[in-house]
Structures are given as C-alpha cells and as structure tokens.
Amino acid sequence: MIPISEHPFGAGGLCAKKLRLESNGLQAILVRDPSAPLCAYQTWLRVGSRHERAGKTGIAHLFEHLMFNQTETLAPGEFDRRLETVGAETNAATWVDWTYYRDNLPREQLDLVMSLEADRLAHLVVHDPQVESEREVVMNERRFRVDDDVEGFLAEQLFRLAYTSHPYHWPTIGWMEDIRAITTDDARAFYRTYYAPNNATLVLVGDFDERLAADRIEAHYGAIPPSVIPVEAQVHEPPQEGERRGEWKKAVASDRLLIGWRGCGLGDEDHAAIEVAIELLAGGQSSRLHRRLVIESEVASTVNGAAPEFRDPGLCELTVALQRGRRAAEAERMIAQEIERLAERAVDEAELAKAQNRLEARHWHGLRPMDGKAEALGHWETTAGDYSRLFSVAERVRAVQPEEVRRVFERYLAPSLRTVVCATPARRRS
C-alpha cells in the first residue's frame, strides 16, 4: 500500500496514517493504539440516502441490512456466526452521506475480520427471500424509530419541510411505501454501483502491527476490481424564503417542539462558529435556553441543541419538551428573543470560553474508545473529505471569536429561515 499522509494526535504517541491500494483505489487509515488487546475495524462507504432518488428512498439502509446475509461462499447467517464465535461484535449504520460497517474484535482475529469484510464487499449474494425478510425488519425498525416515536416523527417532518430539492428531504430509513416497493433487482444494482473498493475507506484502530496489517489488507482486498462510481449530481437547495411550519396531534403528555435552521457543511469555515453558537444556546444546564426555558420560566422540562455534521448544509436543531399545560408558542417566543440578543451583541469572553471548553471536552470524550476514534476518522474522511481535520477540531473551536458567533446568529438563525414542527397532545391533561 502507498503511504499518503500521517498525523500524530494526543499526548500518548498516537498517530493516524493514511494509505492507498494502488490496484483499486481502496483507502485505509490506521491508528496503532495498544491500550487494550482489541481492534476496531470499520468500512466506510461514500454512499448514503443522498444517493437515492424519489420513489426508491430507504434502499441504502435496507441494503446495509442485506450485507449481513449471504455471500458466494458463506451461507446466510454465517458472517455473524463466525464473528460471534470469536467474541467479535458487528453492526452498521447508514446516514445521509455515508454507510459504515463496524467490527470490534480481539486483536488476534484481525485477519478473520478482514477476510469476511473483503468477501462481502466483493461477493455478496442477494435473493428474494432475504430482501423480503429484511424488508419486514426495516418496516418494524421504522415503526420503532419514527411512527411510534414522537422525536423520530418530528425529525422526519422537519427535514421534509426544510428541504424541497435536496435529498436531505427524505429520511434515511425511507418512506414506508418506498420500503415496501424496493425490489431485489434494485438491491443488486445498488450493490454493483456503490460497493466497490474505490468508494470505500477502511479505518483500523487498535493493538496491531502496522506493516502486517497493511500487507493483509492488500492480500484480502487487492484483487477486488474498482467500479465506475457515478458522478453525483449536485442538487442546489434554493434559499429558504420565509418560515415553514407543521403541527400534529400525538399521544404525548405535553407539547414537543423542534426547530431547524439550515447551517453549513461539515467542512465549511463557519462550522466551528456554528457549533459554538448552538452550544451557547442549548449546551448544558447553564446555557442561555436551559436557563430561560427550564429554570427561570419553567416553560420546558428539557431543551437540547445539535449542530449539523453533514457534507452539504444540514440543519441546526433545537428540541424542546414543554412542561404540561405550557404551549410551544411560549418557548418559540423565548428562543427567538435569545437568538435576537445574540445576533445583536457579541457574547462576552467568559461565556464563549465556557462553550469552547465544553466542546473541547466532548471532542476528546468521543475519541476515548477505539471505535470512537475509528468512527470520528471515518466520518471526517467520508463527509468532509479529509480525516486530518479531526485533529484540529479543538483548535478551530478555540479560535472562534465573539464577533464570528454573533454573525452566525445573524446569518443562519434568523426567524425567516427557520422550520418549526410541533406535536401537541391529542388529549390534554391538567
């Protein structure tokens, strides 16, 4: 494998090294971490629900399920059986910009895992019974995560309203009618198109010999041919002109509110300032909105915020659970007032430093476990196109200035740019 780059990080001598297989373009990021006799092995594919089209939503996620089934040489269930026999854990996740497969394993099982992962990347077999069985599982997963879950339901509605052209409009799990309609041929075509070494990055963190690992990756993956990955059409989401709203009656005890504003992409220069802005608003118990909504007015029982981590501009989100008998409109008004204040006057240094400290601590916390390191590396490489930006996250957050934060509130979080969705009790109790 050809060395591409390397970046040391932390104080314990850790170093991330990126390599590439000449034969097919497969990339690998290796971090030797001997803190426990384990490894985290992840396969990140540059395909997610953004690569679907209307009427075929949910196929990236359904296909992720099918990847645990049968290959030309492994019977159904054998993949999981072999891993579980040696004490390895395996799972996967699909999101708007990516799909990744994760294995946590005792270090001595690394070669077995590589062989199994390379096998299903190249030799998966998809038949009707497997598609039918997984379709049922996914429909049940959708009921669990969306239809019977008020937060999942509101998140789905928020993105549906906030995006009109971009694929972020539809949910990664897919619309129920689309999940029902996916065919075996659709699944095979999806596999042939996107599951190829030149569309993947392996991430390996743990107690292993680097040279040997690189050799074994080459041995297992080197003969897999590359594919012609379709050039993705760049869909431009038109600017939002005016607030968008939706409200639904649900079996909830009190109002639930979710507000989203389109932010920026993960690799954008404004991203760190947006993270700080959301942290100031809703990060922790001393944040502006927690104090105002939960402590001072007791309008809400919880308030949470999230900055977007998408390739294209995703949504800055605020989630509020109202206290019984209080209305979402009260919380909306207070949120608007706090944002207006922050857009008018820059925060003081102490409040900014608090948000920066919290973000830095959270960043390091995510990097503690081996699979946390692997996930962060894979996410930055696949979403932002450069894993090394992970190592300057804390630095970028710390460099954010008060005026930048003020500008973020003014530019991104204006009332006319928000999308508001709300669930109210079908039956109100006192």
Binding site: S35, F144, D148, A251, G284, E298, T302, N357, R368
Partner: protein, 429 residues
C-alpha cells in the same frame, strides 16, 4: 486504595488524551426509598447540586460548565454515582466544586419545589418513550412489593411527598466514608488524585458501611400479562421476565451462559427465529440482570401491533422449548466462548475499567472478579447449565408486559391464554 474516612479509591490512569473523569459512588440507591417516598434517593441526589456552600443552582452549573466539565448524577437501585468528566487541566477546580456539592449541600426549599415540578415533567417525557415506559411498568409487574419493582424516579403521588428536609435527612444518613467509592480514570496520576481527595474531602464523615442485600423477591406464579394501554401505537413493546438467582448463587453463571445462548447474540435462538427467519421484530434479546440482589432474565421484542399475537406466541414457544429441553452442547460452547472473548470490550477503556470496578464493589462481587470472570465462564460445563435451568426455570411462570393500544390488541390476543390479565392506562404510573 483507602481514601478519606475509610472510603475506597479506585483508579485507571491513562494519559493518551487530555481528559479525566472522577466518580463518587454511594453504595445506597433507590432500594432504600421508603414505601410511599419512591424517588427519594434520586430527588436528594439531584437537590444537592441545586445549591451548595452558599452558591445557587445557576452558579454551580456555570462553574462546572465553565471548566468544560460535565456533572451527572446516576441513580439506580443499588447505588448513586456522581460523575464529573472534563479537561484534565481544570480538574483540581472541578473536584473542589464536587466536594462543595457533596459535603456542603444547602437543600434549598425553593429548589425542592422546582425539582418536584421538574420530576413530574420528566415522568411525562418518559411516558412519551414506549421502551422506557415498558421497562418502568415491567419492573413493578416483575417484582411487586419489592424494592427492585419501585420506580427510581418515583410516581406522581410519591414525588409530591418529597421535601428538602427529607432529602437532607437521606443525605446525612447515607453519605459517609464507609459507603463511598472514589474513582478516577484518564489523565490523572494516583498520587495527585489522593492529594485532591485529602485536600477537598478531608471533612467527610466516617461510618456507614452496611450494604444490605435486598431480600429475594416473591415472584407470583403463572403466566401474567399486563397491557399498558397507550393510544395510536403501530407497534408493541413486549417484555417477558422470569426471576434469576443472585450472582453469588452457584446457578448464576450457568444460567448466564444459558440466557446468552437463548438471546445474547445476533445468532442466538431468539434473533434467528424472530428477526432473521421471520422479520417480526427489529430486535429480539434475552439478558440476565446483575445487581446486589437477585434480578431477572428479561426477553425483549417489539413487533408491529398486527404481528403481536404471532410474535408473542412464538416467543412463548421458544421459551417453553428452551426451559423444557435446555441447551445443546454446541450452544453452551458457543455462548461461553462469546462471553469470554467479548469480556475484553467491558474493560477496553480506562472509564470502562473504572465502571466495572465500581460495579464489583457495589454488588459485592469478589475483588478479583475482573481476572476470574473469563476462566469461570470457560469452566462451566453443559451439564451444569442444563441442571441449573431445570432447577431455576419454570416455563409457566412469566411476567409479560406489553405497551400497545389495548382496544386493537386485545381482540388479536384471543387465541392466547393467560393466568392473569390486566390493562393499565399508560399515564397512571
């Protein structure tokens, strides 16, 4: 290591990242809540961070968060853990704040009023989440009249009875050196941690070393179904429970292996039959609880409402076959190997190792549990597993809880028979 006032000190040093965690674990939890005052331990633990050493709630929150530190309180039935994690460069100040909260709490009356209202709101939020709702009702159904059946967060009625004075009395009684475990993990050296404890926790009261083991629960016999009625469900959350022995019982480890073979992995019986072959539920698992006292074997599935009868019937068939016929030698070998190999993930990070050490101390497990677990599991023989199953498991004794919409579900369940069936509105407990 011994800490202030006879407390225990546990530590896992690691300097890879500039992050450190400090925990203070009190070996008294929600099992100590008096009847009618369910939620007292949680209420008292939360209230102590709402005012301490003359500083109010907002000042304390701002002080912790200004250091980049998170401060969480976790209350379970056997223990309460105060958990501070943050940038190691600010750790001295964070530990000083933690000592203020734990040694000099003010228990302000006004904050107690606020906290009661917040506790009611938290119950409302819990009721919006079907899986949490199912676990809450199931614990009571499984362990009626036992401390493990009491809700840690209280009930609407019990919350109204909790006061600042009650919280103070609870804390004064419970918070003493003999009941405490101090822990650290991450970018911190043991001698520096001991120095911090000596400086900030020197005033800790000694005494309080009695950690009572809860009595074994009395488990009603029969197949008892409880439907927790919630409108507009498209899916059912189903939990089935059966009593398990204490960890110290010779049958505990063989049954752990048996339960793992039944539903502990993706290729175990439950997942294979329910998800892989039939697609009836996204998840299907069986887990055996570990605590200071005896807990339960719990099976979890969540099918669509329409497929609930088919799924429940299948789970009951699988349960009966498992209890009656036991497990095969191959299943035992597989479960043992998987449990032993996967144990490494429980001790992968310094934080994981600290958590395990604290659990060992709270549950009263042997001090060398971490070293003994793998060889002990590997030594379990198939005959021991089957004998333990025969002694401990009863196919007709199951507590079943289903969160679903009763009006739609009950007609569908006509073909199944139960020894007892009750329907409870979801917002009444």
């Amino acid at each position: 290591m011994i800490g202030p006032a006879g407390s225990l000190v546990l530590g896992e040093e690691n300097h890879d990242l500039p992050l450190a965690r400090v925990t203070v674990t009190l070996r008294t939890g929600a099992t100590s809540d008096p009847e009618g005052q369910e939620g007292l331990a949680a209420f008292a633990s939360e209230l102590c961070r709402r005012g301490a050493a003359g500083r109010g709630r907002e000042a304390l929150d701002a002080a912790f968060e200004g250091l980049g530190a998170s401060f969480d309180v976790v209350v379970d039935h056997d223990a309460i853990t105060f958990d501070v994690e943050g940038l190691s460069r600010n750790l001295d100040q964070a530990v000083a704040l933690l000592a203020d909260v734990l040694l000099r709490p003010d228990f302000p009356v006004a904050e107690a009023d606020v906290l009661r209202r917040e506790s009611h709101a938290a119950l409302d939020e819990l009721r919006d989440d079907d899986a949490s709702l199912a676990r809450r009702f199931h614990a009571r159904h499984l362990f009626p009249a036992h401390p493990y059946g009491r809700p840690r967060s209280g009930t609407d009625a019990s919350i109204d009875r909790l006061t600042a004075e009650g919280a103070r009395r609870f804390f004064e009684r419970a918070f003493a050196g003999g009941d405490l475990l101090f822990g650290f993990a991450g970018d911190l050296a043991p001698d520096r941690f001991q120095a911090l404890l000596a400086r900030h926790f020197g005033a800790l009261r000694s005494g309080g070393a009695v950690h009572e083991v809860p009595p074994d629960p009395l488990f009603p016999s029969g197949l008892r179904l409880q439907i927790v009625d919630k409108p507009e469900r498209t899916q059912s959350q189903i939990l089935l429970g059966h009593p398990a022995p204490r960890w110290s019982d010779p049958d505990y480890l063989p049954l752990l292996v048996a339960a793992h073979a039944f539903g502990g992995t993706f290729t175990a019986r439950l997942m294979t039959e329910i998800r892989v072959k039939r697609g009836l539920s996204y998840g299907a698992s069986a887990r055996m609880g570990l605590g200071r006292g005896a807990k339960a074997i719990t099976v979890t599935v969540f099918p669509s409402l329409a497929q609930t009868p088919e799924t429940l019937a299948l789970v009951l068939d699988l349960w009966r076959a498992w209890v009656q016929d036991g497990v095969s030698d191959d299943e035992v070998a597989f479960a043992k190997t998987n449990l032993a190999s996967a144990f490494g993930f429980q001790i992968a990070t310094p934080e994981d190792r600290l958590d395990l050490a604290a659990s060992v101390a709270v549950c009263g497990l042997p001090g060398d549990y971490r070293e003994r677990f793998v060889p002990a599991v590997l030594a379990v023989e198939p005959a021991e597993v089957r004998a333990a199953m025969a002694r401990r498991l009863h196919e007709k004794d199951l507590a079943i809880t289903i969160v679903s919409t009763a009006k739609k579900l009950r007609p569908l369940l006509r073909k199944l028979s139960f020894d007892a069936l009750e329907v409870t509105p979801h917002d009444t407990f």
